[in-house]
């Protein structure tokens, strides 16, 4: 391609844009549908055949949704949970992953398998015992069950992801630092973490999105409405015999907007590829 004439490059690029756009349109369908439904009247939500462009366009669904469910109260709860859960995840999952990726200690492999095994057992059957644990700690109806466990390892998914990326960093870097007398913690902090910006950003974004959208855990542990999160609030549009889909979708749209912005701006960190930049021509 490097030697190809300029107009050929143009054609190639055009071709790729076409393919990319086709899939972008297909993959964006859920969002388009979400926004479209959020602007419909209640009766139009399930009109068959469905309409992409609502008629009339009901902008008032947005204020109505925020009146029907107290999202402004739930926002701060969600923000606090998301912030503290993500911080704990980044710190403790990377710590554990560093050990599993770069230190030798007895039972390392079985212990790592044990880490993974914690997500292999369906949570349906551990729901009640786990609830009993948090009840015993008197943590029910507080944010603690949603935050504290993440300061103790951050979850198997994140440990595993950190480990995979740490293992792609050449060991020579650790050796060099060790010869300079650096402790393992210093190597983790000064050598590994700065080189892991993409995976840190990835996990931060994943964790943010997960806790932002998760309704299952908060629903189990948060009982008072004043402690609820926005994801629980979304469920408030369901009633016994009917669901106000248009309002629910309006609230959903408003809820994922910050996530879209976050993803859009965070991607420059997780695709920055600085990881290996110092090792060129090794």
């Amino acid at each position: 391609m490097k030697t190809a004439p300029r107009y050929l490059n143009r054609i190639w690029a055009g071709f790729w844009y076409l393919i990319l756009s086709f899939f972008a349109v297909a993959l964006a369908l859920p969002l388009v549908w979400l926004v479209s439904t959020s602007l419909k009247t209640g009766g139009q939500t399930f009109l068959m055949p469905p309409k992409w462009i609502p008629d009339p366009i009901v902008w008032t669904n947005y204020p109505d949704a925020f009146r029907a469910v107290a999202f402004h109260e739930y926002f701060w709860n969600t923000a606090r949970i998301v912030f503290f859960a993500t911080a704990g995840t980044l710190l403790t999952a990377s710590l554990a992953a560093y050990a599993f990726a770069r230190l030798r200690f007895p039972l390392r492999e079985p212990l790592f398998l044990l880490v993974l095994s914690t997500i292999m057992l369906p949570s349906i059957v551990t729901l009640i015992p786990t609830f009993i644990v948090f009840r015993t700690l008197r943590w029910i109806d507080t944010f603690l069950p949603l935050i504290v466990p993440l300061w103790f390892g951050g979850g198997a998914f994140n440990i595993f992801l950190f480990r995979q990326f740490f293992m792609t960093i050449p060991l020579e870097l650790d050796e060099a630092a060790r010869i300079d007398g650096a402790s393992n913690f210093r190597i983790y902090w000064v050598v590994i973490l700065p080189l892991s910006q993409p995976v840190l950003a990835t996990i931060a974004v994943f964790s943010f999105i997960h806790h932002w959208n998760d309704f299952f855990q908060p629903l189990v542990y948060l009982q008072s409405p004043e402690n609820w999160t926005m994801a629980i609030g979304l469920l408030g549009f369901r009633d016994l015999y009917s669901t106000q889909w248009n309002l629910m979708m309006a609230a959903s749209t408003a809820m994922i907007l910050p996530l879209l912005v976050l993803f859009f701006f965070a991607q420059r960190y997780f695709v920055s590829g600085i990881q290996m930049s110092g090792l060129a021509g090794r």
Binding site: P49, M249, F264, Q275
Partner: protein, 307 residues
């Protein structure tokens, strides 16, 4: 000379001891969390699987009776078959699509970050919203899927109403959630040193050669991660069947977890559900161990301690 060697050895031993101590120190938060929050409930469910426990009635020890009942329950085998279908057909396809998407959005084009965002969007929209959209897409009369088939000259299908098509339909739907895997692969792609490609180009390797000799091997840690996580996740597939098909038609989407959930919280059979959970646990664990064994042959870590 002699003393130098011994002191070097001692130093090595000290280093090893430090490494061992630090290893446990680093995983200590996880280990404590595991002991406080996780192992108790896990063992509790294991114990429950050997009892008859209906949540509100006293538990009765029944030995392996729940497991015996499980293996003679044809609905158990059916749900295991449905789930295996989803795992063995869905996971490889899903992984392949995610790889294609990652390669596509890794291209050096102006505005590519917009496409990345667009490809990730379905992973942001609520599952409930996605499910309702897909019910409509697969609708036999008004759905986009059949409109597309008719446009290319094929007849319409009963996607979610035909027992033969319901699982494939859910697998197709799952392609819309490749965003997470794509991002992980993308981060992996970006971690590959550009200099390697430059060196290969000088050697005259074409795109395909560079892909096989550089991109793919260096991407294996991320691919391996996606594979393991996807298998663990796919064995626990639940939500789509719960919202969209309710396990039907004719039990075609009665996935393992849906059956387990109904046993536990609709029919109160927590002992039975726990036995189901532990059978699944063992299946997934065995798969994971096998994958880790096999990974020695195809996953390439630049910083592998065993090298």
């Amino acid at each position: 000379m002699q003393t130098l060697v011994t002191s070097w050895r001692r130093r090595q031993r000290n280093l090893l001891w430090t490494e061992c101590r630090d290893g446990y120190l680093f995983i200590l938060p996880w280990l404590l969390g595991f002991l406080i929050f996780t192992v108790g409930p896990m063992l509790a469910s294991l114990y429950i699987s050997f009892t008859r426990w209906e949540i509100v009635t006293p538990s009765v020890w029944v030995g392996h009776a729940q497991y015996a009942k499980l293996f003679s329950d044809d609905r158990f085998w059916l749900s295991l078959y449905n789930t295996s279908y989803y795992v063995f057909i869905g996971v490889p396809l899903h992984l392949f699509m995610a790889l294609l998407a990652a390669l596509a959005v890794n291209m050096n084009l102006r505005g590519i970050h917009l496409y990345r965002t667009a490809y990730y969007v379905p992973s942001l929209t609520p599952v409930v919203a996605n499910s309702i959209l897909w019910i409509w897409i697969f609708h036999p009369e008004w759905g986009l899927a059949n409109a597309f088939l008719e446009w290319i000259g094929l007849g319409g299908l009963y996607w979610l109403q035909d027992p033969r098509l319901a699982k494939p339909a859910l697998i197709i739907m799952s392609f819309w959630s490749i965003g997470g895997q794509m991002v992980i692969l993308l981060a992996g792609l970006k971690g590959i040193p550009v200099t390697l490609y430059e060196a290969a180009s000088i050697d005259g390797a074409n795109w395909w050669g560079r892909f096989w000799r550089i991109t793919l091997p260096l991407l294996t840690p991320a691919l391996f991660f996606n594979l393991i996580i996807a298998i663990i996740g796919a064995f626990q597939v639940f939500t789509q069947a719960f919202i969209m098909t309710d396990g039907g038609p004719n039990y075609a989407t009665l996935f393992y977890l849906l059956y387990l959930y109904r046993s536990a919280f609709e029919n109160f059979r927590m002992g039975y559900a726990s036995a189901m959970a532990w059978v699944l646990f063992v299946i997934v664990l065995v798969f994971t161990i096998v994958q880790f064994r096999l990974s020695d042959r195809w996953v390439f870590y630049e910083g592998d301690l065993r090298q």
